[in-house]
Amino acid sequence: MTTPTMGATAAGCAACPIHNVANLLKLGVTMDNWNFVVALAGNPNTGKSTVFNALTGLRQHTGNWPGKTVTRAEGGFEYRGHRYKLVDLPGTYSLLAASPDEEAARDFILFGRPDVTLVVVDATRVERNLNLVLQVLEITDRVVVCLNLMDEARRHGLEVDDRTLARELGVPVIPASARYREGLDRILEAVSDVATGQFVCRPRRIQNEPSELKRAVADLTTRIASAFPGLANTRWVALRLLDGDERIIQAIRQGELGELGSVVPSEMATPEAAHLGSV
């Protein structure tokens, strides 16, 4: 193989953003011994598969219609000396588990414990896409937002301010046009920063519920936190329990949720959402 060895070239260039894409080593379906797992989430037809292909060098079929990705695709890439496994989740509008797709995506983000969740957002439909981003941020705080289809937004005369978005969401927001390979370097950098802990997200949590609901959530959150010390998303679990989410009730009974708290999202996280493949 004639690919550059990471140790030799990356040492001098790692700090220089210009060389980031050059540091990307597409591994295709080779993804053994990964250091980090990255989940790829987003609304249907926002270009998740395009981002997936650009990073892994695979040729997952992309098509201009919602619901193209019907099976979970996995691929690998190497960047700055770390090996990443990238999991392309089915496109969904929300994570309320209303359909098998939504349940699969949510279960992977929750139980698969990805080190980073890369949410691909359609820059021409920011408001609707943010609904999903906000729900992801409730579950995990290790998130990078890829503001994709910037070329289309420009074509439509829309101006999307990524810095305002980043400030409001508390996570990195990277403008990109994956079809034309724009912004990939910065996506890689942000994913790597969040994965290695160099960047710590301060994700926004929804705060505008009615006050009664807020009190109930606070009450339940405290109880959950004392029963499961170390669980990061107690507030979200409280909300799901209040909503009567059977899957989460089952998870809490069977101790799946407890495990999430006890293990630090780590280098050997094994995706447990095995049924994802059967969607």
Binding site: N64, T124, R128, L130, G157, V160, E212, R253
Partner: protein, 477 residues
Amino acid sequence: MSNSNATQVEEILSTARTLRSELGTDLHEQLVEAVYSTAARIADLAVTKPGEKARLTLDRTIDRLVTSRLWGFPIMFLLFALMFWLTISGANVPSGLLAWLLIDTIYPLLREGAAAIGLPWWLWGLVIDGMYLGTAWVVAVMLPPMAIFFPMFTLLEDFGYLPRVAFNLDWLFKKAGAHGKQAMTTMMGFGCNAAGVIATRIIDSPRERMIAILTNNFALCNGRWPTQILIATLFIGSLVPAYFAGLASAMAVVGVAGLGVVLTFVIAWVLSRTVLRGQVSTFSLELPPYRPPRILQTLYTSVIDRTLLVLWRAVVWALPAGALIWLTANIHLGGRSVAEHLISLLNPVGLFVGLNGVILLAYVLAIPANEIVIPTVLMLTVLVTGATGVGQGAGVMFNLDDTNQLMSLLNAGGWTLLTGVNLMLFSLIHNPCSTTIYTIYKETGSAKWTAVAALMPVALGFAVTFLVATVWRALAG
């Protein structure tokens, strides 16, 4: 889990239940509303919208045209007719070239080579006459149309036209009790039924997905186009003056494909009112923006992902099928080959429904791949008629380029116009190929539904051909 933890968990759950009942029934809406209003606020801060004028109007104009009540269907019909026409007419030359290379050039070389190194006749018969020739035929017939059809289809898909087709057809499928997205899976079926069955995963409701799976076979797949075209050329084209023959046979083929679409709706309607009763689910289909298709990338992915994958599958099945066909023609029991025994067994049934034993046996032997039906039919006809001077010998699949010679061969085999018409119908309405059957089993996980998917079209095919034969004979007196 420790005991104290279990108590704690039950306490949390009961607290949650109490709080939920206190909060009332609109809790879910409150949660969703909280998310939506936050998203709206942030989007408002971050996105600067231009005046209404700057809104891209081209997309809207195209949409108004291709989804219009008046023009939607004609445009759709013309577009697909154009695609099929390009596929049928464009595939001829490369198919001829491949046939020349694989069958006329390499095949004799292989035979000479086998003779030179002194292989026993049954070995080179099985390997070269059976397996190689069968596979070569499948490649020559299948590769060019797929290499033309799939990229065109993918370009349309990349451009964003497919969701508009689903939008146009939605009400028809809904009337039939099926899911609007079935329009897309049917379309995929025109390429390959196995691919179409996999594509039904986009349908969420299990009931409607099953309807889509069971009816996908009525989308005339790639492997069946060659049969349709050849038989239409031979039997329909010869009914009209020569200058009109091409158009007449093309219309006959399009008519059979159209009949398949009609059958899809009829069978979906029957299924949704009998064994697969239930609500029609509504779905919101987002019409994505039109995007300029990336030509090179599309060509690459459609060749790699679709064309070569489907071709590989066909080759894998053609190898054993070719061997089997050769064996049935060359193993003799009581002075006659196995194939001849089988044909005389099937002949009464075949003739009863306006077909013949050769055709039925060909459909049994060609279960692995529809593409080899015609070569098998020809090979078996030579065998039973004892025709000499055509082809290469017993159990050797071949292709005759000369239509006159072909016609006289088939006439010798007792073929009439009725046989031709019924073969076209049976080619549309019979069991799916083994790959599709296997795919159906994998997708449904049910042997029962797989059996339904395999047997229902055969039963229907016999019913339709019998009906046509009866009416035909009554009219002919």
